[in-house]
Amino acid sequence: MAKICILVQTGPYTYENLDTALALARSAKGAGVSVALFLYVDGVISVNSKIDSPGERNLSQLLADLIREGVEVSACGACSKFRGITKQLYVDGATMGSIVDMAEMLEDADALVSLGF
């Protein structure tokens, strides 16, 4: 099965990158492509289950939905630590990872989609 790795470096709401990643991941899954998502730098903010966005899409919940649909999601542990996002705050199913996990995702993937600043 083909596999893509998506790297998101930006935080939610300020940039559209996570929305793009979520839509791309969903489309890829629908087309039978396996997806791994790595959240790096400010991207890790999206994994915070305490995100509350009255009247707006809740991006961490959408991320959790995606994990339930079988997308592998890992967030950089060091980046999380620097932003006060503990593992307890992570949405269910997301892994606290490292560059090693990113490397393994890349090795397994056929293509990388890098969404940054």
């Binding site: 790795c5 990388l112 890098s114």
Partner: protein, 117 residues
């Protein structure tokens, strides 16, 4: 995928992006991936020798990037056009390969993945 190009387009201070790019390059290289770095646009300022960011409580990025080849086997390249537009020459920089845009294009086509910062 095993061959990755990290593309650095932003200056060394003001954002954490150069430091994060450095961290990603070192992490991937430690996983025995073939990693190179290309500096373009303001990214070439990362290579300027005379950096003294002590007052920012940071270490010189030029020092970090100058040691990355010997320490981790990561090759570094600067785009000549970006240097010219900023009044910089190879003499102003730590040791780095200077390339033209045709060479950069070939490098971009040759790798499996590009992570842009």
């Amino acid at each position: 995928m095993n061959k990755v190009l990290v593309l650095i387009t932003k200056g060394p201070y003001g954002t954490s992006l150069s430091a994060e790019a450095f961290r990603l390059a070192v992490g991937l290289a430690s996983m025995e991936m073939e990693v190179s770095i290309a500096f373009t646009d303001d990214g070439v300022f990362n290579l300027v020798k005379a950096q003294a960011p002590g007052e920012l409580d940071m270490k010189p990025m030029s020092q970090a990037f100058s040691g990355i080849k010997h320490g981790f086997g990561v090759s570094t390249y600067a785009l000549d056009e970006s240097l010219r537009l900023r009044g910089l020459s190879a003499d102003d920089l730590v040791e780095v390969g200077v390339i033209d845009s045709d060479t950069l294009a070939r490098m971009l086509a040759d790798v499996d993945a590009v992570a842009r910062f």
